[in-house]
């Protein structure tokens, strides 16, 4: 098993690519040609992807007894009982994540070659991108919480770097900071969670933790105990990373980054890390119904909430951002109701179609010469057909129209929410309405962008289809978003769910702990699927009625809705609230207390005071240095006498 025995290769390749571009590229500047950059960046990721495929092949051949495959490379930290190895592991969950990360990552890389073509920071961009892939792989491959945490923070860093990629733009720089700081808040909880985990289990390795759990046969914790605390703390980190309520605010701003970044990091991979960690820690979560309930509620509410905001946005990428948030909400909802595999399934399909959406949006923006406002688009269908088609496919997928991928995953989630072991009708309702809204705003986006009469000036913007290096990935993703969900298709007509079965071993303990419920008749599921589709179609219809009919119909509606519309349009003014409640006081404290009092007063005072004392003492002490050799000799003697006296004292004691 060449690869499974050497998992580090998968990690190393992107790192090398990043190093090549980041060091040599920055150093050589122009003399480091684009071809070299592409070779390093795309090549490394491609190689990594191939390694992953090979690994998957080998993995498939493994007997169940040898799963998960753990590669323990070196002893990283060792402090008393605290022992952390740099270990990587591969199990079913990891395999899925690996495929998604490297696959989508590869496509995005290829796309970026075309998209960033004229950017001065070309090598920098790709080194960041490779670095991100490296950290993301570390995150998913890590065999213990700490390695995962390294990847976790690393992707945060890369996200920061890439959001602020055009750091000359103030908004971009601020967005980067905002993302970084906001996720930090969650990571605070995550860190404490890790510490608490170690404090509780005495180890950080997943395998050992889970073994301990099963060995001690820990009972399900219906009260608020340590496991619940750990879960909630880890979930706090997940909330930050996956932009859930209330820490979602950074994701929309993250759209300041280049679109491929949005596609890869803020749609396909990084933001799903939260979901991944929850799924990874499922044995823990499923021992704490409270935590699961919290996860489910947060997920569902976020899904609905973000969808509502998405309806009123006019910036094409902002819409996609909010839809991402809401889709992530779906995933958390799935995890919360115990349908981990469904969550991961949605994670995968979402990675496909959301990545596709972003890339397509990027293609549109590219075609419009940087224009992002949908109100200034329209009628692009003829101009950029490939983009339009792929985008339509993705929209159908996210709107849950069969036979596209999104339909199966979303259907599974909603079904689990309704009838699963932790079923909760209210949450189901939220999710269902969210689905409706989703299809509405997505079709709104499509219609505004591609249909209707064009609302831009032909003379200024000269629309053109993107090169094939960009369209290629679009097509591939389109294909995936079409067929990606068919693993689960047989489940519809009573067959088996291949994806679910594949992931079963990972979530075995969760399934074992789940309360037994009477499986509702299969026919009911069909009805629900039908419901979901109708919801999607309804959304489609509303969008059509609003945006393809009378053009000023939306304005009237907005006027009629009045305050409500303003509220939604203003994104519930959450940013403003945060600014007023947190940012401003923080700034005030920092400026008036930390800066003027603590820093200038105490710290500078201390430092300068030390300096002054030293100067004063020196001024006095220099008189000792008379330049007279005999005086110096006398000082030597004084020292000698003192030292000898000391020695004599010691000897005296010894005798």
């Amino acid at each position: 098993m060449p690869i499974l025995d050497h998992l580090w290769i998968i990690l190393l390749l992107p790192l090398l690519g990043a190093a090549a571009n980041g060091l040599i590229g920055i150093w050589l500047k122009e003399r480091w040609p684009k071809s070299a950059v592409n070779a390093c960046a795309v090549g490394s990721v491609a190689a990594s992807f191939l390694c992953v495929c090979e690994a998957v092949r080998e993995f498939a051949a493994l007997p169940a007894s040898q799963i998960p495959v753990v590669g323990n490379y070196f002893n990283w930290m060792l402090a008393g009982p605290f022992r952390v190895d740099f270990a990587l592991q591969v199990d079913q969950l990891t395999v899925v994540m690996l495929l998604v990360v490297t696959g989508v990552g590869l496509l995005v890389h290829i796309f970026s070659v075309g998209y960033m073509d004229h950017d001065p920071g070309y090598p920098r961009f790709f080194s960041y991108l490779n670095l991100f892939v490296f950290f993301m792989l570390t995150l998913v491959l890590g065999a213990n919480l700490l390695v995962t945490f390294v990847g976790w923070e690393g992707v945060g860093l890369c996200s920061y770097l890439l959001i602020g990629f055009w750091f000359l733009k103030k908004s971009a720089a601020d967005a980067g900071k905002k993302a970084f700081i906001t996720t930090r808040i969650g990571d605070m909880g995550f860190t404490v969670g890790i510490l608490l985990t170690f404090f509780t289990f005495g180890t950080l390795s997943y395998g050992e933790i889970f073994d301990k759990l099963t060995a001690a046969n820990t009972p399900v914790e219906n009260h608020f105990g340590v496991i619940t605390t750990i879960c909630l703390l880890l979930f706090a980190g997940a909330v930050g990373k996956s932009a859930q309520l209330p820490l979602y605010v950074w994701l929309p701003d993250a759209m300041e980054g280049p679109t491929p970044v949005s596609a890869l990091i803020h749609a396909a991979t990084m933001v799903t890390a939260g979901v991944y960690i929850v799924a990874r820690m499922n044995p823990l979560f499923s021992r704490s119904p409270i935590a699961m309930l919290v996860v489910a509620i947060v997920g569902a509410v976020t899904a609905f909430y973000a969808a509502t905001i998405g309806m009123a946005q006019t910036d094409i990428k902002k819409v996609l951002a909010y839809s991402t948030i809401s889709q992530l909400g779906y995933m958390f909802l799935a995890c919360g109701v115990g349908a981990y595999s469904a969550g991961i399934f949605h994670l995968m399909t979402h990675a496909f179609f959301k990545g596709l959406l972003f890339l397509a949006a990027g293609s549109v923006i590219h075609a419009m010469g940087g224009e992002q406002d949908m109100l200034k688009m329209g009628g692009l269908w003829k101009k950029i057909p490939v983009t339009a088609w792929t985008m339509l496919i993705a929209t159908l997928a996210i709107a849950g129209i069969p036979p596209f991928a999104g339909f199966f995953s979303k259907d599974e989630i909603l079904w689990a929410a309704y009838s699963g072991p932790y079923a909760n009708k209210a949450l189901w309702a939220l999710g269902f309405s969210a689905a409706l809204l989703t299809s509405f705003y997505m079709f709104r986006l499509v219609f505004l962008t591609f249909f209707g009469q064009q609302r831009y000036d032909e003379h200024h913007v000269h629309v053109h289809e993107s090169p094939w290096i960009m369209l290629g990935p679009l097509c591939v993703l389109a294909f995936l978003s079409t067929v990606g969900g068919w693993f689960a298709a047989p489940a519809l007509w009573g067959g088996q769910n291949y994806f679910d079965d594949f992931l079963k071993p990972t979530f075995a303990s969760a399934a074992a702990l789940a309360p037994v419920v009477v499986e509702p008749p299969h026919s009911l599921e069909i009805y629900f699927a039908a419901f979901a589709v109708t919801a999607g179609l309804i959304g489609l219809a509303i969008a059509w009625w609003l945006y393809l009919g009378d053009p000023d119909r939306p304005k009237r509606l907005a006027k009629n809705l009045g305050a409500l519309y303003k509220l939604v349009y203003g994104k519930y003014f959450v940013d403003e609230i945060y600014a007023a409640l947190i940012v401003k006081p923080l700034l005030w404290i920092s400026t008036n207390i930390l800066w003027h009092v603590v820093d200038e007063g105490m710290i500078d005072g201390a430092v300068n005071g030390t300096a002054d004392v030293a100067q004063l003492a020196g001024g006095e002490a220099r008189r000792i240095q008379s330049g007279n050799a005999r005086s110096y000799a006398t000082w030597v003697i004084i020292g000698a006498v003192g030292f000898t006296a000391l020695l004599l004292g010691i000897m005296g004691m010894r005798h």
Partner: protein
């Protein structure tokens, strides 16, 4: 065996007197001579301590070469009576008493030191060191220090040359 006792005290007295003379003498050359006196006395003490080779070396190198060099320099510079300037206050007021204090300390310490109880002369005193054994020790066991010192000497010669050369 009264002889060693007499010799010891005689030489010790000589040495101390020489040292004191070195301090009290006004003429540098008198200091030099008193130092030679100390060295000779020490050489005899070395003989008493069963280190004849060291004694010979002491006289040959110290008294015969180094001190001659001193005397030579004194004559060359025609160094007369030293002027007793008192520009080092601390040296004047603190140095002397402290020096004597150190003297007492060291003497006390050495006197009470562990090996002090051993017998140097008289009953059961070890034999004198043979030159053969000493040279064996130097050239086998201490070969590296020996070479190192030789290089040191070479460097010293060069340094002396550079310093003494008239800069043209």
């Amino acid at each position: 065996m009264i002889v060693p006792l007499i010799v010891f005290f005689a030489c010790a007295l000589l040495a101390v007197v020489g040292a004191v003379l070195l301090i009290l003498a006004h003429e540098p050359i008198h200091s030099a001579l008193s130092l030679v006196l100390v060295m000779v006395a020490l050489a005899i003490l070395y003989l008493l301590l069963g280190a004849p080779f060291v004694a010979a070396i002491q006289i040959l190198v110290y008294a015969g070469a180094i001190m001659v060099l001193f005397v030579f320099v004194i004559m060359l510079l025609n160094a007369g009576v030293e002027e007793r300037t008192d520009w080092s206050k601390i040296g004047k007021w603190v140095g002397l008493p402290l020096g004597f204090l150190l003297l007492l300390e060291i003497a006390h310490w050495l006197y009470h030191s562990e090996p002090g109880t051993a017998i140097a002369n008289g009953g059961g005193a070890p034999p004198a060191a043979s030159t053969f054994a000493l040279s064996t020790a130097i050239f086998r066991q201490y070969l590296f220090p020996f070479e190192a010192t030789s290089i040191l000497i070479l460097i010293a010669i060069l340094g002396a040359l550079v310093l003494a050369r008239k800069d043209q």
